[in-house]
Subunit: 325 residues, 2 copies
């Protein structure tokens, strides 16, 4: 199975790392909108300009699109689904139905298979919501994120006047998680589930009180949360906040029994040293599934909900039944 990486940021590099563990996958190349001469891949795999992608129509089985959800993927995924089987990590929740429709149309018209919104949320977390809801319909689920770096929130802080750099951690409230893990089904406000910790490098002489106020009052991003702001030097930020860890938990409590007398708790948790590398690892496993589904004539746009677990694995059906069932 031959894959290509379209877009070479943190996620693209994560895919490049991940494929080395998959003995059935060959990486054909990296495609970038930058000058290919200026891009050095970690593994030494060739770099091509994105404009040359059409030349690889018959040389790539699945193209892994590693662009941003805001502006890249809404254009790239439908366009590339005309010539390739594709997979992306589109995560703008409200726009998923529209993105799905556009990718589905492009893929079907050209006999390709596509999968959108892979990764861990959307992705593995979504699957866990489906499994636990199907098994325990009489229940309630909760998703907690963190402790981890939110790139969107970090970017929002960086746009404030007087800020040189920033890193924002989303932190789940332990007492809320403990209540849910104890089998209870409380209603939480936004503030009761997560808090936000910001580490900010201010320009020399900037008004830090004004910056802190602007962060804490920023609508959507921070106003609904308890937010802490800590000013640090650039050296401290680089030394202590260079990584992109993340994680979280999906927890569902459900009741069974004729009088709903029994409670069950299903929990799926991730603790990730590197959000982009783990997301990339999920994309690679789903690229394998897309390749197999396309081989069976199953075309159009899919999501993680449409993929049977066996299609993700390097093992054969016999091996899976023998070793993992």
């Amino acid at each position: 199975m031959r894959i290509g990486i379209y877009g070479y940021g943190n996620l693209g590099r994560g895919v490049e790392c991940a494929v080395k563990c998959h003995t059935d996958i060959t990486l054909v190349g990296v495609f970038t909108r930058r000058d290919p001469e200026s891009v050095k891949t970690v593994s030494g795999v060739p770099v091509y300009h994105a404009n040359s992608i059409a030349d690889f129509k018959d040389k790539i089985d699945v193209l892994i699109i590693c662009g941003g959800s805001a502006t890249d993927l809404p254009e790239m995924t439908p366009a590339l689904a005309r010539d390739f089987n594709v997979i992306d990590s589109f995560d703008t929740h409200a726009k998923i139905p529209n993105h799905f429709k556009r990718v589905d149309d492009a893929a079907r018209e050209n006999g390709h298979t596509a999968l959108i919104s892979s990764g861990w949320d959307p992705g593995l977390f979504s699957i866990m919501r489906v499994y636990s809801e199907a098994v325990l319909p009489n229940g309630k689920d909760y998703t907690f994120w963190g402790r981890g770096v939110s790139q969107g929130h970090s970017d929002a802080i960086r746009r404030i006047d007087g800020v040189l750099d920033a890193r924002q951690y989303t932190v789940p409230i332990e007492s809320a998680m403990d209540a849910v893990r104890g089998g209870r089904c409380p209603e939480f406000s936004t503030r009761e589930k997560h808090k936000r910790e910001c580490y900010v490098v201010a320009c020399d002489g900037a008004d830090t009180a004004r910056i802190e106020k602007e962060i804490k009052e920023m609508p959507n991003y921070f106003a609904d949360y308890d937010t802490s702001v800590t000013f640090v030097s650039m050296e401290e930020l680089r030394a202590n906040h260079a990584g992109l860890p993340h994680g979280g938990s999906v927890i569902r409590n459900g009741r069974t029994g004729f009088d709903d007398e029994n409670t069950h708790t299903v929990e799926f948790s991730l603790r990730l040293d590197s959000n982009p590398e783990f997301t990339a690892s999920v994309l690679v496993a789903y690229a394998r599934a897309i390749y197999r589904m396309h081989g069976r004539g199953d075309i159009g746009c899919k999501t993680v909900f449409d993929v049977a677990p066996a299609d993700l694995s390097m093992m054969s059906a016999d091996e899976l039944r023998k070793h993992l069932l």
Copy 2:
């Protein structure tokens, strides 16, 4: 969708409870090898003799077989797969390949769809091993069971001379779980992962020292574990050990990055008040999937690995993408 319950013990009653949460499912009846007059269902659904099952060939879409793995299911599932779409919870690990083959042959010859080894282990835990292994091939997974009642171990104690009744709890060793959760991949002996707690009611005048010795030295069941034996009265056993709680965790640690520098931990945990009711709840969700797969002409024997999450859910594909992705 019309289902039947074949076998009416704890698991059959669990299925009867579970279906009331599924608005798309009608329960046709319970089938028993006992005298139907002697069996009262909790919901009042009719009880028929197992011998009359063939009369229901066109009245039941999926038959949920609630028998034991030791002697019932190896006979029942292949036999019933000739006339019905069937599902079971066969859990004798070493015999799964053979059971699969026999059920697959019977189902294919007659155009039916079957699913074996559903539940939570085998079942949801197996799925989690596949997802986490596919995403993090460079890693190691661990399964911990409990704290929960093992019926097989309780039965083994009951067979000892001088024992009136017994309840055995499988208990995971917290320090082992913590080591794995911390990202390490140790090798554990059997004794280092789980311990066994036994609550035993002895006959009047029985030699409790001899009973305790027989339990602790029983090969396969107890000899490889640290086992505690507590003698209790029948009243205490009934008051404090009447339930069938269980649970456990599947944890995988995997590494990514060009120098394997990043560690990720994936954990799936269950805490169940009632093992049979939760297992039954999983069976009902998979019965829906089997019904749909059969409707698409997908015949033969399946396992949980072959079922896409979407097929388990009452929601449509559109609703799933909108609400759970």
